[in-house]
């Protein structure tokens, strides 16, 4: 399950698992946002390549318009996936404390 909650000012709180079944709902949510978007991922336990696809598509849409996607609270699992996929070079990622 994935929960998506808007926290105002381009901040989105994610919790649960971002897998192939859940990714379309996040994509639909993010498609409505502009500018700088922060995904608070402290309670996001899991991401697969389908989730990476959502992040990539969103970042490619936001950047040309002067916006960007930012990830905060990334767990060890998320950091590993971002590193091996090279997403640590194309997204601003703040690890969990």
């Amino acid at each position: 399950m994935l929960t998506i909650e808007g926290a105002g000012a381009g901040v989105v709180v994610l919790a649960g698992r971002l897998d192939a079944a859940q990714s379309p709902s996040l994509q639909a949510y993010l498609d409505k946002l502009q500018g700088e978007v922060t995904l608070q991922c402290a309670k996001l336990d899991y991401i697969s390549s389908a989730g990476l696809g959502v992040l990539l598509k969103t970042q490619k849409r936001l950047l040309p318009a002067g916006g960007k996607l930012r990830i905060t609270g990334a767990s060890r699992h998320l950091q590993d996936i971002f590193q091996y996929s090279g997403f640590d070079q194309i997204l601003e990622i703040e690890p969990a404390p």
Binding site: M1, R17, A21, D45, L52, K60, S85
Partner: protein, 154 residues
Amino acid sequence: MSGPREFARSNDSLETLFEYTSEFFVRNRLDPRILPIVDFAVEELFTNMVKYGSSDGRPIEVGLACVDGGVQVELVDTGVEPFDMTQAPDVDVSRPIEERTPGGLGLHLVRRLVDSWDYQYSKEKRQSRVTFRKSFAKRAAGAAANDGDHNAHD
């Protein structure tokens, strides 16, 4: 140990598939720190079979087993043409974002996250069988060098 189970050929099966892996880890008192990696590999292989496999709606079989120092997972897809996922090309992850697409990333990451994976095809059964292993002691190549104090992660 756990006998193989069948899962409907749909991404909607992922939730029950993850319940299956999680219950297996709890029941066998396995180190939960590798569970996200096992789930990741299972999802990528399973969804690949959903996307490119049989069109007759046959379920996909998934089996889990404890092996020395880790876990072995097997996915079996019947009624399909051969496709060796272990030979899927790598993705150049150093490309700038303008040139990046998500395609192929899943299998690229599986190759780096698991210890080993193997593909077998039976012409008689028209059956693809993918097996991978993940150990508790090792991390994927490249991670350890960047881990510092986190070497015991999995």
